[in-house]
């Protein structure tokens, strides 16, 4: 008897302390532990979830993927697209007290494009020089016109770090990040939590929540269980199979909005069997994209026609989703047998998807063997072009260039197929040098029609952003890059 009384008292005391501690705290479940909280070094999508709260960027994105002011209040593009001049907001300070002026912005941008091991070098390579004009004006001089630059600056490349903190912490800055954003970094315990406090003196007004805690749950079921039990108030992403259960549950809301990435299959064009264009086209023709979206993803993805998701600037209605056509596939095969290995990563969804592909290929008499390797090995083998076909997608970039250029230009860093077409190369180069988006979009789509016909890659679906939260959480903005901005989010 005494034992059970003690247990009950112990349990209720613990529950009480848990409830009172979370009054002003918002805990968010992520699908991975963000590895590097340094804008220069970060290579994972999940890092951006956290860094967006800590660092201000020169410019940001709105829900329509339009570039909007952030630290830069206005900007001018002159000199045929070679000079970008930004006016900076005045009176901004980093959370360590350092003044955020043009010199600090120059330090931040230069650090991102030159730091040893920086993952930003490629996307910032067109910047020749960052020049301080006066305390509130900064100028970027380009070696060649580069249309995507503004969009690039809405991501990690445009995040401005505190020069004082970055110099002091050196290589350890990723574990002690300091910016001027709406939240300040407090602590991290690897695999357990990253804790941020509200920046009460934020230039855009203090956030409504006091404390923001991120927790990683790699398993989708565990993430879901933690939301149900109240251990976290929001999770992203949600496993597609849990969507309808959450939508029907009165205690939770689901935000399901378009993303900017794509998924599909690469064909290695440098060796047999896929150095034969007809074979690539045959495989692409067997895939039923609608059926995949419905059966595997419960309608939480959109069938894809190309690399530009609907609603993004270069999306074109002229390019339509390819319908499965087994007769066409057989005709392309011309009676020749086709057997190949499909390389993929383990995981319940990828395995299921690979098996569905296998069955779809088989309808045209194509035999695919599935080989599963972990992600690093997959990338490594893709680099060495040591594969027949492989399943790989992209998280997406707000500017169309980020979804096409490096994938199909000869020698591009993401050109896993080893694809090379001079006409496509010159069109892609022309598009990124143009400044008006309508002209750029048109050029990309001309290049795309050639790429689709050559089929080094076949697009299958566009992923969507899926966020679930408790009903009391308001102010979540569906910005297509999938990064939740917590400054205006409130928890009642």
């Amino acid at each position: 008897m005494r034992k059970s009384q003690f247990l009950m008292a112990f349990l209720s005391a613990a529950c009480l302390s848990a409830a009172s501690a979370s009054a002003q705290t918002l805990t968010v479940g992520l699908d991975a532990d963000p590895p590097k909280l340094d804008p220069a070094l970060s290579t994972a999508l999940v890092d951006r979830q956290v860094m967006n709260q800590i660092f201000d960027k020169l410019v940001d994105l709105d829900v329509n993927l339009k570039v909007v002011p952030a630290l830069a209040t206005s900007w001018k593009v002159t000199n045929g697209g070679l000079t970008y001049t930004f006016k900076l907001k005045s009176g901004v300070k980093f959370t360590d007290g350092t003044v955020l002026d043009a010199a600090a912005v120059k330090y931040g941008l230069d650090r991102n494009r030159t730091l040893e091991g920086s993952a930003r070098k490629n996307e910032m390579s067109s910047i020749k020089e960052v020049k301080v004009i006066d305390a509130q004006t900064i100028q970027l001089n380009l070696s060649q016109s580069y249309g995507p630059l503004l969009a690039v600056l809405t991501d990690r490349a445009g995040m401005i770090v505190s020069p004082t903190a970055a110099k002091k912490a050196g290589a350890d800055f990723q574990n002690n990040p300091v910016g001027s954003g709406p939240f300040t970094f407090v602590s991290r315990v690897r695999q357990d939590n990253i804790t941020l406090n509200a920046n009460k003196s934020y230039w855009g007004g203090a956030p409504k929540i006091d404390k923001l805690i991120y927790r990683p749950f790699t398993d989708g079921d565990v993430r879901y269980a933690n939301l149900l039990s109240g251990a976290v108030q929001a999770i992203t992403p949600i496993d597609p199979k849990d969507i309808s259960k959450l939508e029907q549950n009165a205690k939770f809301s689901v935000l399901n909005y378009p993303g900017i990435g794509f998924q599909g299959v690469w064909f290695n064009v440098t060796r047999a069997p896929f150095n034969n264009k007809n074979f690539r086209q045959a495989v692409a023709a067997t895939i039923d994209r609608e059926a995949i979206a419905k059966s595997i993803f419960y309608g939480t993805v959109t069938p894809a026609a190309g690399p530009f998701p609907p609603g993004t600037p270069a999306a074109s209605s002229a390019i339509t989703v390819q319908k499965p056509n087994i007769a066409l596939a057989k005709q392309k095969l011309g009676g020749k047998p086709l057997t190949f290995t499909l390389l993929t990563t383990p995981g319940s969804v990828t395995t299921q998807l690979a098996q569905v592909y296998q069955a779809m290929f088989a309808q045209a008499g194509i035999t695919a063997k599935i080989e599963q390797v972990e992600f690093g090995t997959l990338l490594d083998r893709a680099d060495k072009q040591d594969y027949d076909a492989l399943m790989l997608g992209w998280s997406g970039r707000p500017d169309p260039d980020g979804n096409i250029y490096d994938f199909f230009v000869t020698g591009g860093t993401n050109n896993q197929a080893g694809y090379s077409n001079k006409a496509v190369d010159s069109l892609l180069a022309k598009a990124r040098a143009q400044t008006a988006m309508t002209a750029r979009a048109a050029t990309y789509n001309v290049a795309l029609s050639t790429i689709i016909s050559d089929t080094p890659y076949t697009w299958v679906y566009f992923q969507r952003n899926l966020v679930a939260s408790v009903k009391g959480l308001t102010g979540l903005k569906p910005i297509p890059d999938g990064i939740i901005r917590f400054k205006d989010v409130d928890l009642k």
Binding site: P35, D172, A231, V373
Partner: protein
Amino acid sequence: MAVFALRRLLSSIPTLLIVTVIIFVMVKLLPGDPARLILGQEATPQALAELRRSLGLDRSLLQQYLSWLAGAVRLDFGTSLTDNSSVSKLIAQKLPVTLELSLFAMLISLLISLPAGILSAMRRNTWVDRVLTLLALSGISLPNFFLGILLIYLFSIQLAWIPASGYTSLLENPGRNLLLLLLPAVTLGVGSGAVLTRYLRSSLSETLTQDYVRTAHAKGLTARQVTSKHALRNALIPFLTAFGLQLGGLLGGAVITEQIFSIPGFGRLLVDAVFTRDLPVIQGVVLVSAVAVFLVSFLVDLGYAAVDPRIRYN
């Protein structure tokens, strides 16, 4: 006793050295390029080459092994490729968490196995024994992940008594620490408790058929006295081995349980390191778990020697 301990300790040094070679080579044999994984999809060949050089991946295998071993004996396992933090520090952070969880789980497993094993042996072949055997077999066959999710569903989602996940250190808030560790410890404790119940039942049953036990009965002692004063002490020797093996196994990483309950322990450190090809972390964690298993089996041997003097002199 001291001589026995020293001899036992010295004899494990060559084995440990072989273990370091195996760990090093096996980690090196893992497919995939850590530099590629760190730099992600966007890496340029030039950045990859730069990173490989700074990670020392361009040196010979022997050079890499020797410099790793030299560090390891000084408890310096290098820095994590993921976030540049010291591997020793990471291990020092995570090991106590898993140690506490393992001890808590072993306590639960003792609370299950001692009474159940003794009762089962004393009432062998009765309905009590059969019921306990059935329960023990179910406990052994129940996968950790299933039991864990079941407990979360029951106690966190339906009853809302215990948070579904998380960890607070014992020093910071002892009450919350124990509360948060309760479900994972039960998840782990049930499985090993069931195994230990079977061990205790069989070793005690065997002891209870020995001549000296019959003599004790003949002297007029009660069954309870015979069991507790005479038989149990002898029956505990094989039980101790099994206990040591179970504890060693848990220290090596209660991987799945830590994953389900989001406990930032040793097992998860290892799993995440494998997924991110964080070689220094994998090597450090595997080496420390190997040493932990050695240490536990050393302590078990000392325990034997204390219980049974014959072992010391053989």
